[in-house]
Symmetry: C2
C-alpha cells in the first residue's frame, strides 16, 4: 500500500425526515445567515423548500435565496453566487439539490472570502486559505460531492470543465434522505448509476498500486449499484434500494475506495468532461459512452484487473467478456453507450480532441492521452 | 437502511516513516506538553521511543512518560495516568502501542479533565463533556481503536470489562506504519486476526436490518484478513500484506461497516470479556473460542446471513459448513477454539455465567443471554 493521509470530517445525517433538522445543524455550527442555493423550482413544488425554510426559521437563521443552478454548472453562475454571498455577508451556505448545486456551492464558499477570481482555484493559480462552512441536503445520489472536498464547474468561455479541491470544502453536515431522491427520473437514475460506476472504476483500473482490500470495497459499491438500479427501475419507491444506491454513491467518492492506491488517474472523467462542456450532454450519460470505449483501449495495460472485474462483478472469465457485460448492462438500463446517441460522429472528433488534449494536460495525463489515443477511444465509441 | 449519523474526524497518516512526523501533528494541533503513554519497554529497545522523542523535541514539545500499560488494561493503571496527567498539566496525550495502550489513553484523556471518578464514564453515570486531544502511533493492528471513539478497560475490583465512548475520544491523528507492526509475534498476529473478524461479524450476523452494501464491505474486510494472515504467517515482513491487514483492522471498527444497520449487538465481545476479565486470556484468543460456539447457537436465528457468509467467505453452501470452515481456519492459523486450551472446563461455567449475566445486562441483551443460553454456548466451546 502507498503512504496516504485520510481525513474526512463531514458529518452524514442519513435517513427519513433528516432534512427537518437542517436548521439545528446550522445553529450548532454557529451560522446566522445562510445562502440557500438550489437548481430548478422543483424543490418549491414538492415541499422541500418549505420544510427547509421552516427549519431555518425555527432556529432564527436568516437566508438569501440563490436558485437556478443547472446541470453541468457554469462559472458565470458561480460568479453571481459569489457576488451575492459577499453583498449579503452570509456566514454559511446551504445547498439543496444534486451534485451540480453542491459543486457550485463549494466554489461560492471559497470565492466568497477571496479577493481574486474564483477560477484561480480551478486552474491552480491559488488555493483557498479560508471558506464559508457548507451544508447540504442532497436530492440526487451520484457525484459523492456530499462527502468529499471537490467540485466541478464549466467555464463556458473556455469550454474547460475543471475542479476545485480543498479540505476546507468538505461539507460540515450532509443530509441524505433516500425519500427525497424517489422523484428522480428514470433517466437521471441510470445516468447516476453510470457516474457512480465511473467513480469506482477509475482508480480500480488505472492505479499502479491497488490494494486488494480496496478492489473488494470498490466491487461492493459496483455490485450494489447494479443490483439497486435494477430494483429502482422496477419500483422507484423502494426505500431500501434507494438508500443503498445513495450510500454507494457516497462511498464511491468519499476517499475510502482510493486510500493506499497510487498512480491512478481519471481518464473517463477527463474524456467525458469534453462532451459535457462542448455538447452539454448529461455527465453520467457521457460516461456510459466513454467507459466501454476507454476500457477496450485500456484493457491490455492491466489485464489481471480487468479479468478480476469480469469475474467479481459478472461471474465471467475474460476481460473482454467483462467489458461487454458492462456495456450490455448500460444498454439494458437505458443509458447511452455510443456517440451516435448524442448525434455525434467522426466529424466531431477534431473539436473533441482539441479540448481533450487540454483536459489531458490538466488531468496530468498529457503524455498518455495523445491525439492518436483519443482517436482510438472515440472510434470505439462510434 | 436505518437512519444513521456518521461522523469520524480522525486523520489517518498511513505508511512508511509516518511516525517521524508525530511532533508536527502535535504542534499543528497546539499541543505543548504531552503525556506519552506506552506498554512494555519494547518501544525503547526497537528505537521507536527515540524516534518519537526526537520528533517531539524538534517541535519543542515537552513530554512526561507513562509506561507499563498491559494487555486487557486495568482501571487502576488508568487512575494512575489520570493523576499524572492532572499533576503534570499536560495538554495532550500520545499513545504509542496497541489497542490496550490507546484505550487506556482515551480513558485518561477524559478523566484528566473530570473531577469525579473516571469509571463513571464506563458505567453510564456520566458522559465526558471535554477531553484532552489524543494522538497515537499504533503498533498492533487489531482493535480499530485508532479510528473510533471507544475504549475498553477492566475494573479489576469488580471484574467488569466495560467501555468508554464519546465523540470527544476520536484520536486527532493516528499513525499507522505497517513496518512498525512487523515485530508482532505470530501468536498476537493470529489473535488480532480473530479480533478483527469478531468486529466484522457482530453486526453482520446480529443486525435486524443489514444493508447488502454493508454485508459486502464486511466481507471485503474478512477476506482480506484471511488472505493477509496466511501471507504474514509465511513472511512477517511482507509489507503489502501487513498494510492491508492493518487497514482491514481499522475498517472493521471505524463505523463504516455499521452504518444503516439496526438492532445489532456484540454478543461475542460480551461473552469474551468475561474470559479476559476472569482469566486474563488474550482478547483475540478468547474471541476465537467464543465465535464458533456462539455461531452454532445463533445460526438458526439468521440462517440466510449464515448461508451468505459460508458462500461469500469460503465458497461453501450451508451455514454449518461456513461455521466449520471458520473454526478450522482458526485451528489452522493457531488461535484457540476450545475452552480447554485455557485449562477451563464445565467446572468454570458457574463463575463465567455469573459475570456473564452482568455483562449481558450492560450490553443491553440481558433478556436474550440467560443462564440457559450461556450454558449452551459454553458447552459448544468445550
Amino acid at each position: 500500500m502507498q503512504n496516504f493521509t485520510f481525513y474526512n470530517p463531514t458529518q452524514i445525517e442519513f435517513g427519513k425526515a433528516k432534512e427537518q433538522e437542517i436548521g439545528k445543524h446550522l445553529h450548532v455550527n454557529g451560522v446566522k445567515k445562510v445562502l440557500l442555493t438550489y437548481g430548478s423550482d422543483r424543490i418549491k413544488k414538492d415541499g422541500l423548500f418549505d420544510t427547509v425554510v421552516a427549519s431555518l426559521k425555527a432556529e432564527g437563521i436568516a437566508f438569501v435565496e440563490f436558485g437556478g443552478i443547472q446541470s453541468n454548472p457554469l462559472l458565470s453562475k458561480v460568479y453571481e453566487g459569489v457576488a451575492l454571498a459577499k453583498k449579503e455577508e452570509v456566514d454559511g451556505l446551504l445547498a439543496v439539490g444534486g451534485g451540480s448545486v453542491l459543486d457550485s456551492t463549494k466554489a461560492i464558499a471559497a470565492g466568497a472570502l477571496y479577493e481574486g477570481d474564483v477560477w484561480d482555484f480551478f486552474i491552480g493559480k491559488a488555493a483557498p486559505s479560508v471558506a464559508l462552512p457548507i451544508f447540504d441536503i442532497i436530492t440526487l445520489a451520484a457525484t459523492g460531492s456530499e462527502m468529499n472536498m471537490g467540485g466541478v464547474v464549466t467555464n463556458e468561455a473556455t469550454k474547460e470543465k475543471f475542479a476545485i479541491q480543498s479540505p476546507l470544502l468538505y461539507p460540515k453536515v450532509s443530509i441524505i434522505n433516500p425519500k427525497l431522491q424517489m422523484s428522480v427520473s428514470k433517466e437521471y437514475l441510470v445516468y447516476s448509476a453510470s457516474d457512480i460506476i465511473a467513480h469506482s472504476i477509475e482508480g480500480y483500473f488505472t492505479a499502479s498500486v491497488q490494494p486488494k482490500i480496496i478492489s473488494r470495497q470498490v466491487e461492493a459499491v459496483i455490485k450494489t449499484v447494479i443490483e439497486t438500479t435494477e430494483k429502482l427501475l422496477e419500483n422507484p419507491n423502494d426505500y431500501e434500494a434507494r438508500g443503498e444506491f445513495a450510500w454507494a454513491a457516497t462511498c464511491a467518492l468519499n476517499g475510502t475506495t482510493y486510500v493506499g492506491t497510487s498512480g491512478f488517474s481519471y481518464p473517463n472523467h477527463m474524456i467525458e468532461h469534453v462532451l459535457s462542456a462542448l455538447y452539454d450532454v448529461p455527465h453520467g450519460a457521457g460516461l456510459s459512452v466513454v467507459m466501454p470505449a476507454w476500457m477496450k483501449w485500456y484493457k491490455s495495460k492491466n489485464k489481471a484487473q480487468f479479468e478480476r472485474f469480469a469475474k467479481e462483478i459478472f461471474g465471467l472469465d475474460s476481460a473482454d467478456e467483462g467489458i461487454k457485460a458492462l456495456e450490455s448492462w448500460f444498454n439494458k438500463i437505458g443509458t447511452p453507450t455510443k456517440l451516435s446517441q448524442f448525434d455525434l460522429d467522426k466529424s466531431n472528433f477534431e473539436e473533441i480532441i482539441k479540448v481533450g488534449l487540454g483536459n489531458a494536460t490538466y488531468f496530468g495525463v498529457g503524455s498518455i492521452y495523445t491525439q492518436k489515443v483519443f482517436e482510438e477511444i472515440l472510434t470505439n465509441a462510434l
